[in-house]
Every structure is written in C-alpha cells, then in structure tokens.
C-alpha cells in the first residue's frame, strides 16, 4: 500500500442489513491511483460493500475510515436503477454532478458550464448531450453517468457494474476511460463486475467476493480481450 494515508479503509468490517451480515471481516484500503475491481456472483455482497463505503448503510462491526468528504465520492449506479419515466436530457443528468457546489437560487456559472463540456468530451459524448437520457443506448447511458460522477470532481470513483448491458465497443470505451482516470488523473477507481475474465483485463487489483467473504487476487493491466 502507498505511504500516504488511504482515502478509505475498512478493517475487520462486517457489512450487511439490520443484524444480518452479508460480508464478514473485510479488510480494504483505497489509495489515490488505485484501480480495484470486486468480482463475484449476484448476491455476493458487491453492492453492499459499495453502499457501506458511501455511507448509505451503517457498518455492523469493525472500522471504516474515510479521509475525504462524501461529496468527493463519484458514484456511478447501474443506469437500470434510475427511473426511466423522467423526461430528462443527458446534459441535465451530467449537470447534477455539480449541484453540490451550487446554492439553491444560483444559475449554472460559466466555470461549471466549462467543466460540463470538459467531462462530456472526456467520455466522448458531447454530441449526445441534448438527447433524452433514456433514449440513449445502455453503454452511452453508463458513460453519461461516469461523466456525472466526474462532474462532482471526485477523489474516488465507485462504479456499480459499469459494464453490464453494454455492447463490446462501449465496454472497451468504458474500461479505457477507467484506466485513464486511474493512471493519468490519479483517481482511485473501485468498480464491480460479475465477469471475472473482463475484470482481470482491466483492474490492477481484484477482490473476489463469495460466500460472505472477500479475498485478494493480484492482476495486471493486460491486453483487452475485445
């Protein structure tokens, strides 16, 4: 692990809902520049781990330490978790990432507009900004949600199944983006997937969740399978 204090650390942590632990004895540290994946079957506790780190769920046992504010977390939910009845444009979705910095009565200032354009370019979808969000393909929606998370100006990006439901081209674009964010911008990137083969080709470090426990598996950034 790095010499600087970790942005997030979990020590002998039990995570779950109510009194029922889904994951036990979790030890984890997230540092700037990390690119970590958690892989495991559905129901293995990947989302529970994310929700606990983000403060949505209380920790059951052990310790959880954050060395950055919650507003410095960029969270990318699965786009299917959002309500598709909203007649919302992609631009409006991305803009939401900047809401934490704006006062209620304030319009969108020029530096926020510039940041908006910049993150849209970063995910390569500026041309789709005015389209309705739910009219985009699954991969495009996922990239827009990553743009929204980048709009926050995060130190840590947490992505829940960012590659699920994406076509191969979008999967490649997203995984390239995650590698860039980690390597070029020094952001800690922590994402989940149930596809171990794909995870091995992207992440530097891999956590495997199964049977209520997590364990480390070392990996390297290798040639993409696509």
């Amino acid at each position: 692990m790095g010499s600087t204090p970790p942005l997030v650390s979990l020590h002998r942590a039990n995570l779950g809902y109510g009194d029922a632990a889904v994951l036990e004895n979790v030890d984890l540290e997230l540092h700037a520049g990390d690119l970590i994946a958690i892989a495991g079957p559905n129901g293995s506790g990947k989302t529970t781990l994310f929700r606990t780190i983000l403060g949505f769920l209380p920790i059951l046992n052990g310790t959880l330490t954050r060395h950055c504010a919650l507003s410095e977390f960029g969270y990318v939910p699965q786009s299917t978790a959002l309500d598709s009845t909203f007649p919302i444009t992609a631009r409006e979705v991305v803009e939401m990432g900047g809401y934490g910095r704006l006062k209620p009565y304030q319009g969108l200032p020029s530096d926020e507009r510039n940041r908006l354009e910049s993150v849209l370019q970063q995910v390569g979808l500026s041309h789709l900004a005015r389209r309705l969000f739910f009219s985009l393909s699954g991969g495009q929606r996922q990239r827009m949600l990553i743009a929204r998370a980048l709009m926050v100006g995060p130190k840590i990006l947490i992505l829940d199944e960012p590659l699920a439901g994406c076509d191969p081209e979008s999967q490649k674009a997203i995984s390239d983006l995650l590698i860039d964010l980690s390597q070029q911008e020094g952001k800690a990137v922590f994402f989940s997937s149930h596809d171990l083969r794909m995870v091995r080709s992207v992440a530097k470090k891999i956590l495997r969740a199964d049977g209520g426990r997590v364990s480390w598996e070392e990996g390297v950034v290798a040639g993409h399978p696509w």
Binding site: L54, L70, L82, M96, R130, R148
Partner: protein, 480 residues
C-alpha cells in the same frame, strides 16, 4: 358571452377564474414531482383526506353551535383540512418506512377510508351537506377576495419553494443516493417537498375541492410528459398546460352552464388525447398534423358563437303579445321574501290577497310586460282572457294549439326558469329560456337562453339580487 368577455377583469366571475388559474399553474408542478417519485396516488389520496378533514370540522363546528356559512366555520374547515392532510401524510410516510406491503395498496386503503369517513361526517351533519357537495363538485365560483388572497399567498409560497429548490427536489426524486452524497441528506428534501405538497393540497381542497386539485396535479404533467424535451421544459409545460386547461375549461363551464370541476377535468383529459393524437399524426405525417391543427383552430373559432339577437320589436307589428305564465323548472318554489315591495304594491292595489307571496316568476313576467308596454307593444296575460290558461307547455306547437283553443291570436311569449339558485354565500346563478311563438302556425320566431350570475354581496337580500338578475335579462332581451 364571448371568450374575451370571460377573461375580462370586469367579468363577475373573474376572481373564480383567477383562483382556478392559480391552482392550475401551481398544482401541476406539485403533481409533476409526485409523478416523478411514482407517488402520484398521493395526489388522489391526500385531497380526499383533506376533504374528510373539512367534513369533520363542519360536523364539529355544527355541534359547537357555529352557524352555517360563516367565516369562522370556513376558517375552521381550513384548519381541519390542513391538520388532516399533514397527519395523513405523516402516517403514510411512517407506514412507508415501517410497514410491509406495497405503498399503492396503502394509499388505496387510505383513500377508501377517507371517502367513507367524509360521507359519514356529512350524514352526521345535514347542515354541512350543501357545502361538502359544492366542495366535491369543485365550486371555486364562490371564492371571496380574502380567500383568493390566501390562495395566492399559499400557492405563491409553494411555487417559490418549488422553483427555488428545483435542483434539490429534482436530484432527490431522480437519484436519492447522489442527493445524499452531495447535499448531506435525502430525507430533508423529501420532507420539505411533502410539506409543500401538503399545504397546496389542504388549501386547494378547501378552495376548489379534491376533484379539481387532483385533476390539475395529474392531467397537465401527463400531457406535458410526452411533449417535454428535458426536465425544465417538462415542469414549465406542465404549468402552462394547466393554465390552458383552467382558462378554456372555465370558458366552457360558463358557456355551457356546467360545474367547473368536472368540466376542467373532462377538458384536461380531452387535451391529453389531443396531444397524443397530434403526436401520432406528426409521426405519420407532418402535413396531416398541420391540417388537424388548422381544423382545431377553425373549430374553436366557430364554437365561439355570437350572442343571439335581441327580440325584434318591429317584427311584432300591431299584434298582441300574450305573456304565458313563467314556468318554474327549478324544483324550488322561488318565493320572494315577505317584505318585497311588489307585494305591498299589489296589496295596496287590492289585487293580492294578504297571504299571497310573489315569486321570481311574477317578477320576471311583470318586468317583461312593463318593458314591452314602454315600447308601445300591446301586451296581455292569457289567464285574464280565459281563466283556464294558468299554464302553457314550453313546446311551441302544443302551446300555440292551447292558445288557439282559447281564441288568442298574435304572439305567445313562453318563458321557463331552468335555474335560479344560491346558497346564500355564492352569487345568484340563473338560467332562463324564452321563445316567441306565432299563435296561428306554432312557428318559433325568436328563441334565447339567458345565463346570468349576480353577486349577493351588493344586494342586501335575495329579492334584490333577483331584481338585479331580471334587469340583466331584460337588458339582453331588448338589446339595451
């Protein structure tokens, strides 16, 4: 009455139009947020709970001796509406967090319970029946200036809150997790949104009734949903469509003499169908859409009929006009109060027995007779020629046959009062139909319907308001 007459600030019912426009502009914003949160049934259940609060308060205040129709009772009802709404909302929120089962089924059960209780409270308190029925029909027609002011203040505050915290409410509705991360808590924004909803529903229900409030919450956002290209346009369009429904619904209600609440809701549904139909056609062909839009505009233009011409006195010639006894189709006796000057004059002239009470029908027929005589038209009452002619059917052919059987000739003027009512607080609302029939062939040479609404405020009593309404009718009848 033309469309622009209805919109004119000098129109008697302008405060009611203003009231429904305020409701229609703000309620869709509230409804849009509930719709986005998939809690639109709250918009149905909460107004019913508010109505239950009103019925409960009327019942309670009746028991406590507060007289019916007073300002104190109205204020208590407002408090009842607000308390029931906020308590109901709190209870539903608590159950959402702690109970099992679907929220929809809880809302349905709450709606059924509130409806049943409303009816029971009305049954317990017969004095409140009229008020509650008006409430359920959506009668904003009787809004006073003070109530309008209160509505404007409360809805202004709700609108201001929804616009000021638009981003926070939107984020909280769309993605509560992100709202938690960026604003430090999602519960507070849900709480404030529901408080704004509660206030707008509680005050809206007491002013306009649950039907109108729910209609304005649901229908405009539903129509806007398919047209909107983003959240800003969705919210703005919802309000604008609400305003459109309120203005044209109001016009239709006045024009066709229909209760406002159901008219607005039915028209709102028609707007939704129209929007979907136009969209469907746009997808098929842009040219066809243009044609449909043109037809709608032309159709609307045609529907704004000109007022029928006044009675053509020249056409009457030298023939006598027989004024048939005015029919009363209202179901009430329409007797005027005992101190009416008509009675005194009649008694002085020895024509009226002391126990006789004049009616609105007498007032109307006497006034028409006087007007015609002033214009040098020969006028008579048929029963003075033949005592058997105490009434005539309103159907022209039969009426003319009866007149010919009694050897009458010339013209027969038939009048029928279809509505002449007030609850003592709302304006006097009247509808009278008249037709002039040629006795020799039963042909109708003039036919007109008069709708007049007269304020009770300026008139001290019902007989004065009735006299004002008759004057209005005569003014339109003779075109002066």
């Amino acid at each position: 009455m033309s469309f622009f007459d209805v919109l004119s600030p000098s129109f008697l019912l302008f405060p009611a139009l203003l009231g429904s426009a305020i409701l229609a502009f703000v309620c869709p914003l509230v409804g849009a947020h509930l719709m986005l949160r998939r809690r639109i049934f709250l918009g149905l259940t909460l107004p019913q709970i508010a109505a239950c609060g009103v019925a409960f308060t009327f019942w309670l205040s009746h028991g406590a001796g507060v007289s019916h129709g007073t300002g104190g009772e109205r204020l208590l009802a407002m408090v009842g509406s607000l308390v029931f709404t906020l308590v109901g909302m709190g209870l539903l929120a608590y159950l959402d967090r702690h109970a099992t089962g679907s929220p929809e089924s809880r809302l349905a059960a709450a709606y059924a319970f509130a409806s049943a209780l409303t009816i029971l409270f009305v049954v317990f308190n017969p004095a409140g029946e009229l008020e509650i029925l008006n409430l359920l029909k959506g009668e904003v027609i009787s809004l006073s200036k003070e109530e309008l002011k209160l509505l404007a203040i409360v809805y202004g505050a709700v609108y201001f809150g929804l616009v000021l915290f638009r981003r926070e409410f939107l984020l909280n509705s769309f993605d509560r997790d992100l709202s938690f991360l960026l604003t430090g808590g999602s519960v507070q924004w849900s709480f404030w949104l529901y408080v704004l909803c509660g206030f707008s529903i509680a005050i809206g229900v007491i002013m306009a009734g649950p039907l109108l409030v729910f209609g304005f919450m649901v229908l405009p956002p539903l129509a806007a949903r398919s047209l909107a290209r983003g959240m800003s346009s969705f919210l703005s369009l919802s309000s604008l469509i609400g305003l459109f429904i309120a203005i044209f619904g109001f016009y239709l209600s006045v024009r066709l003499d229909l209760p406002l609440g159901p008219t607005d809701v039915a028209f709102g549904c028609a707007v939704i169908f129209m929007v979907y139909a136009i969209q469907l056609i746009v997808r098929k062909s842009r040219g066809l859409a243009g044609l449909l839009a043109a037809l709608l505009i032309v159709g609307f233009g045609c529907s704004a009929q000109k007022a029928p011409a006044p009675l053509d006195l020249q056409a009457l010639g030298q023939n006598t006009v027989w004024l048939a006894p005015v029919r009363n189709s209202t179901g009430t006796d329409l007797r005027l109060p005992g101190t009416n000057p008509l009675r005194s004059l009649g008694e002085i002239a020895g024509k009226i027995a002391p126990d006789y009470r004049p009616t609105v029908m007498d007032l109307l027929r006497g006034s028409v007779k006087r007007e015609l005589e002033q214009r040098r038209i020969a006028v008579s009452f048929p029963e003075e020629r033949d005592a058997r002619l105490q009434s005539f059917p309103f159907e022209a052919g039969s009426a003319a046959t009866n007149a010919r059987a009694a050897n009458l000739s010339g013209w027969l003027l038939l009048s029928d009062i279809r509505r002449w009512n007030t609850d003592g607080r709302a304006p006097l609302s009247t509808r009278v139909e008249m037709r002039l029939v040629r006795i020799d062939n039963g042909a109708i040479s003039w036919d007109k319907q008069f709708q007049k609404v007269v304020p009770i405020v300026g008139a001290a009593r019902l007989d004065e308001a009735s006299a004002d309404a008759v004057k209005e009718i005569l003014r339109e009848m003779f075109g002066s």
